[in-house]
């Protein structure tokens, strides 16, 4: 894998009534990051998948939110996905990862990077096809350090969108791992740090 070394970040801007950051990386890669906010995606959950990790974790103060949308061109095709999660602290001593699973027939997400550029048909929701990959990506990123940073609570993936052409299990696994890292951040991290996290977890 080659390292990506040039980034451009647009100033924070408003999308709908939510704040998000546009990040453009090398190789025509585009990302949108939401911290302490979310893309306001609503879909019907047909199932809830849960996994537990950690024990004896302390409760940290305050809910957290993070979301990542990414479009990675690779020539003949592109890779696309969007995931967002919230972390709700509690006294359980462990982290419970929850995934809201949808059908494949949810509404179009016309605000997506891929839709706006007429590359793909993007729908809100997380079909079952990708649910195990989201779990795997989240658990992979929930190492002892991340668990300690987050503390005890519920990590719920409740924001998602997928592309008919661009999505894959691999991209959702990578986005899930990245979102966990974004949640473990303090929200005052700068964009260079955000970019490094996206690079480290999404392009490998």
């Amino acid at each position: 894998m080659r390292l990506l070394d040039t980034t451009q970040q647009s100033p924070t801007r408003i999308m709908g009534d939510r704040i998000m950051q546009n990040i453009t990386l090398d190789f025509h890669i585009q990302a949108r990051v939401w911290l302490q906010e979310h893309p306001q995606i609503i879909y019907s959950a047909t199932d809830l998948i849960e996994r537990e990790v950690g024990s004896g974790l302390e409760k940290k103060a305050g809910d957290k939110r993070a979301a990542l949308e990414i479009l990675i061109p690779v020539g003949p095709r592109f890779l696309y996905g969007l995931l967002g999660a919230k972390f709700i602290p509690n006294d359980s001593g462990k982290i419970v990862v929850q995934i809201l699973v949808s059908t494949t027939e949810e509404a179009d997400y016309k605000k997506s990077i891929a839709s706006e550029q007429h590359l793909d048909t993007v729908r809100v929701g997380l079909p079952r096809e990708y649910s195990n990959s989201v779990i795997e990506g989240a658990l992979q990123a929930l190492n002892p350090q991340s668990c300690t940073e987050l503390g005890s609570g519920i990590l719920r993936f409740d924001q998602a969108a997928w592309g008919e052409i661009g999505s894959s299990n691999k991209i959702f696994r990578q986005i899930a791992a990245t979102v966990v890292q974004l949640l473990a951040l303090n929200s005052d991290k700068n964009q260079t740090q955000l970019t490094e996290i996206i690079k480290a977890y999404t392009y490998n």
Binding site: M1, R2, L4, D26, F27, H28, I29, I72, P73, V74, G75, P76, R77, F78, Q117, H118, L119, E129, Y130, W162, E164, I165, S167, S168, N169, K170, R173, Y203
Partner: protein, 117 residues
């Protein structure tokens, strides 16, 4: 399925294959299905074999995309225009053997398109 490329065979040109390799290397991160498609084209060239189907779709798509991006079009514009000019499906650009080799990289729509179970 393969639009203007349907039911045709094409010879690979060495210089054009180099254009495609450089385009992919310089513009995109290392994506293993691309490397496998390039290997398929190189083997066909080395053995003086003609290409068709997904191999031809990949070859002509990337060649045209390279030309258009060199002329100043963005990736998104060049990618879309290349698909439209050859009237090929966006799912036609990877050979089913590549999809089988990297199942994690391709969703069910790709597998349905190629009849991969």
């Amino acid at each position: 399925m393969f639009g203007k490329l349907n039911q045709q065979e094409f010879a690979i040109n060495l210089e054009k294959l180099e254009v495609i390799k450089n385009h992919i290397k310089n513009n995109f991160y290392d994506y293993k299905p691309n490397l496998m498609m390039l290997d398929r084209l190189q083997i066909a060239l080395d053995n003086n074999q003609k290409i068709s189907g997904a191999d031809a779709s990949f070859y002509f798509h990337e060649l045209r995309e390279a030309e258009l991006m060199k002329s100043g079009l963005s990736y998104h514009q060049a990618h879309q225009q290349s698909l439209q000019e050859y009237e090929v499906s966006p799912f036609s650009v990877y050979h089913p053997d590549v999809i089988r080799a990297y199942p994690d990289e391709f969703n069910q729509n790709w597998k349905n398109y190629w009849g991969i179970t």
